[in-house]
Symmetry: C2
Subunit: 347 residues, 2 copies
DNA sequence: GTGCATCCTGTAACCGTTTCCGGTGCTAGT
DNA sequence: ACTAGCACCGGAAACGGTTACAGGATGCAC
């Protein structure tokens, strides 16, 4: 049964390559790591041997002896959520280019799980991490920062100064969305936020208020409802609260696309037509936006770009390069589709 | 030197624990790995030292010295696709319970990428892999199998005997979907398939034909169109082909939910009401199904379960346990929603 | 010819585990 | 009393790399 063929019993090691090339293992290692102090001929010989033996370095060994593992951890609340999937995809792509890989750690929104996961991650398995929407408090993260490099994507709460953060320009996006509605003539503009303690939400609120103020419209607290960012009963209730007002809004800015979709459904159930009777703007520009009918006007977050950015920031951190900008905000962009229309004047 | 000051003295090692407990490192290792030949007192002492020092074993070292890495690779065409996200989520959950992690490898549907990725994966980084919808041919996989344990989820093409496979019961699902339409009185039942070379599609076709045959309905080749599984122009064209037939179908079975959604849009554009004028069934039961209006009748694939199953199969493989069932098919389930209705008899 | 800097290369000491192999000390059988 | 068997534990050799350090060629200036 043991074939003479390449019955792959032994993987090529650096020592094999060394003897094949007639050099020492140190030299092979140098070549492999692109060190400059190797004679061209030698380098050539080594590379040839490497090729012939189909050698590639054992990452564990490299990691053990002080080098890097080539792995970076990514914690993410939910893998199946499209939102995170896209960020993940961007990050993974950026890493692939560096021949590095992602160790995936879904936290299921559980703080404890995230902590133990991180603990495992730092114990030699990974070189650093990207934490998406982490559960940790600023203090916890500051402590962690002492001995493990990481960058946060889309923080839940405001984080201390020194912590590297990548996020979208929430306020600007919200402002653009609101201005869009204002420019269509709407004045009673409602909002359905997400969890109010999330910084993303407070910033979007700021943008929303800012735009209203700039247009001379007094914000009406009754026009703001809270949901949980999911297309479920909580959102339906929030939508109902606004739509059933004595003087309901003519346009509503939903703080994400899920909520916008839920809102449109609730509106439809009340016989309201979107956009004729009610304009709706979402946030995220998720896959949904183009699928629902009417298609959704929404604020695009550059999710994949955020993932890529987080990775490149992290890589710089890993190389101990001076990192100038520790907090990166990526621009959002309003995408106008069918769910918004000029204010329908009286009847 | 703007180094991140490593004031974090040193991570505890097995030697530290050993000397603290007054035993040898071998003994500590034994305790850590739950070997039986350690005296209770000694074990207790070691565990105490471990606790005091906050020690946890360095996985790279463990991996190097012949043990396992605790990492398994997962190749996946696209992370952002909800379909794969859910499988991934199931797999990750199952792995988490074993204190193992996923190394994520998006292949972007590129064969070459998948090959190099796999190559890297087997060189010490991972203990095994789960390949989702792999690009490799059966022959390639058979070769790979000789020196690397893996299991395939949802194969693209039929695979050789010995390759472990987890998939959904495509034929049964398709049959259920078709029978549902038949029971509603439909007789001209169209189908929009995915890539015809995919085994999932041929099996679904089989189920579809089987159900028709059982009901005494002669399959009409004109009623079958091909799409690319995406909600795009190809799907729109396929939908148009069927809808514009002189004698168009009264019901259409779309081979996934994306296609169903595209179909519904095309139907709407032609002034057809779903389900009154056209019944639509999808496949997958993705997130979309409940969001579109009307909500989609569809065949649910147990995606998370497939992920979990793949992992448990792989783990058994890793432990060299005799694996009885190498090919696992998980049952699908028809979920009836709003997009299907009894045949609307004449006008 | 000598001294010396420069370039390249090899030796060997790690990195933190696992595990083989063998050595205690103790019990029990003869 | 002697030895076999057992339960427990320690020494030390891997595992496959990286890297500090040392040393052998060279070339060049003097």
């Amino acid at each position: 049964m043991t074939n003479t063929d390449n019955n792959h019993t032994k993987r090529a090691t650096i020592r094999g390559v060394a003897s094949a090339a007639g050099v020492s293992i140190a030299t092979v290692s140098r070549v492999l790591n692109g060190r400059p102090d190797v004679a061209p001929d030698t380098r050539e010989a080594v590379l040839r041997a490497v090729r012939e033996q189909g050698f590639s370095t054992n990452r564990n060994a490299r990691a053990l002896s002080g080098g890097r593992t080539g792995l970076i951890g990514v914690t993410v609340p939910l893998v199946e959520a499209a939102y995170f999937g896209v960020i993940l995809s961007g990050a993974s792509e950026a890493l692939y280019e560096q021949d590095m890989r992602i160790v995936l750690c879904p936290t299921l929104h559980q703080h404890e799980r995230e902590v133990t996961l991180l603990d495992r991650l730092m114990r030699g398995t990974t070189d650093g991490a990207v934490l998406m929407l982490p559960e940790e408090s600023s203090a916890e993260l500051t402590a962690l920062q002492r001995d493990y490099p990481f960058v946060v994507v889309d923080p839940r709460v405001a984080l201390a100064e020194g912590i590297p953060v990548v996020s979208a320009a929430h306020a600007a996006g919200a402002r653009a969305a609101t201005e869009h509605l204002l420019s269509l003539g709407h004045r009673r503009i409602g909002a359905i936020t997400g969890p109010p303690e999330w910084i993303a939400c407070t910033e979007r609120i700021n943008g929303y208020h800012g735009a209203l103020a700039a247009a001379g419209v007094l914000p009406d607290p009754a026009l703001v409802a809270v949901s949980d960012f999911r297309n479920g009963p909580v959102t339906a209730a929030a939508a109902a609260k606004l739509l059933d007002l004595p003087d309901p809004p003519t346009a509503i800015f939903a703080f994400n696309d899920n909520v916008a979709v839920g809102l449109m459904r609730t509106a439809r159930e009340r016989g309201l037509r979107v956009p004729e009777d009610l304009s709706v703007v979402g946030f995220d520009d998720s896959e949904l936006a183009e699928i629902v009918a009417p298609t959704l006007t929404t604020v695009r977050q550059p999710l994949a770009e955020m993932g890529r950015m987080a990775v490149s920031l992290l890589l710089r951190l890993l190389e101990n390069q001076r990192v100038d900008a520790l907090r990166i905000q990526l621009a959002t962009k309003l995408v106008v589709r069918e769910s918004t229309a000029p204010l329908h004047v009286a009847r």
